[in-house]
C-alpha cells in the first residue's frame, strides 16, 4: 500500500509544477502571470496551455507575458497583444460573438436534448411497467384458478 501511495504523491508533485517558473516581485502581478499563462493556448501543441507546455514557442510566450507584466501592462493589454498576433484561437476562453456563438450555445442545446431523451425514456419505461403489472395480475388470477382446479382434482 505504501509504495502505491508514494507513486500517487509523486504524480501530484509532477503535475503541480510549472515547466519553468518565473517570480514577479509583486504578488498581484504573479497572480496575473499564473492566470494568463493558464488561459493562453500553446499554438504548437494546441491542447496545452502555455503554462503546461514545454514547446519553444510556449516558453517564448511565457517570457513575453512576464516581460509585459514587469513593464506594468494590464491583463487586458497582454490578452490584446496575443489576440492581435494569433487571433482568438490563442484564448482558451473565446469571446462570445457571431462566429463563436455555436461553440457557446451547443453544450446547452445538447444538455437540453439529453434531458428530453431521459424524460421520454423514463415515461416510456413507466408505461411499460404498468403493462407488466397488469400482466402479473392476470397471472395471479390464473394461478388461483389453477390452484383451485388442482385442489378440486385432489378431492375427487
Amino acid at each position: 500500500m505504501k509504495p502505491l501511495l508514494l507513486v500517487f504523491l509523486l504524480m501530484i508533485s509532477i503535475s503541480s509544477h510549472a515547466v519553468d517558473s518565473r517570480q514577479l516581485s509583486d504578488p498581484k502581478q504573479q497572480e496575473s502571470y499564473e492566470t494568463l499563462t493558464k488561459e493562453l493556448r500553446c499554438l504548437v501543441c494546441q491542447n496545452q496551455t502555455i503554462a503546461d507546455s514545454n514547446a519553444e514557442l510556449a516558453g517564448d510566450l511565457r517570457r513575453q507575458v512576464y516581460e509585459m507584466l514587469e513593464q506594468g501592462k494590464s491583463e487586458q493589454d497582454i490578452i490584446r497583444f496575443m489576440t492581435d498576433r494569433y487571433g482568438d484561437f490563442v484564448l482558451y476562453k473565446p469571446p462570445f460573438e457571431g462566429k463563436t456563438s455555436l461553440l457557446w450555445i451547443a453544450p446547452v442545446v445538447f444538455l437540453f436534448m439529453g434531458l428530453m431523451m431521459v424524460f421520454f425514456v423514463i415515461r416510456r419505461k413507466r408505461a411499460n411497467a404498468k403493462v407488466h403489472v397488469d400482466a402479473l395480475e392476470i397471472n395471479t388470477e390464473k394461478q388461483k384458478k389453477v390452484r383451485s382446479l388442482l385442489e378440486k382434482g385432489e378431492l375427487s
Binding site: 494546441q46 519553444e56 514557442l57 517564448d60 510566450l61 492581435d84 487571433g87
Partner: protein, 176 residues
Amino acid sequence: MLKYIIPLLLFIILAVFLGLGLNLKPNDIPSPFINKPAPHFSAPKLNAPEEKLTPADLKGQVWLFNVWASWCVSCRAEHPILNQFAKQYAVVIIGLNYKDEPEDAKTWLKTLGNPYNVSIMDQDGRIGIDYGVYGVPETFVIDKKGLIRYKHTGPVSVADVQNIFLPLIAKLEAES
C-alpha cells in the same frame, strides 16, 4: 415510419458534421494579419550583422517573407521549391531565420542554395511572435503598400506556387 426516419436523420446530421470535420485543417489558424500592415522590425542581416533591414526598406515592391530555420525539417522539404521559385520568377524573398544559430543557418544556405534576397536573424523569436508565427515554415505575401495579403502555414509545395503564389503576386504587382 417515424421510428426509421429519426435515426436516419440523426445519421445524416452526424455524417455531415464528420464529413466537414475531415476537410478541416486544425493547424491552419486564421491569421489576424490579413490586410494589416506588416509589423515593424529592425533586424540584423544574416550575412552582414552590422546592417539592419526593416519592412520600410521594401516598400513599393511585392515580397515574400519566409520563416525558416536550419533545425526545421519541413523547411528542408520546402527549400528546393523556394530555390526554383526564386530562380524562375525573380520574386523578392526575404528570409526570417527564426531561433537559429547563425553559423548553422549560413552552412544550410551554402549547402542547399540560397533563395533569399536577404535573410534576417531572429534568434530570440521576438519577430516571430510579432508575426504570429507558430509553425515553421510560414510564408507571408506582402504588397507594395506594406500590407500582409496572404499567409501560408507549413511548407510551400509546387502546386501552391502555381495555384496560389504566382496568381496572387501577379495581381499584387498590377496594383499601384
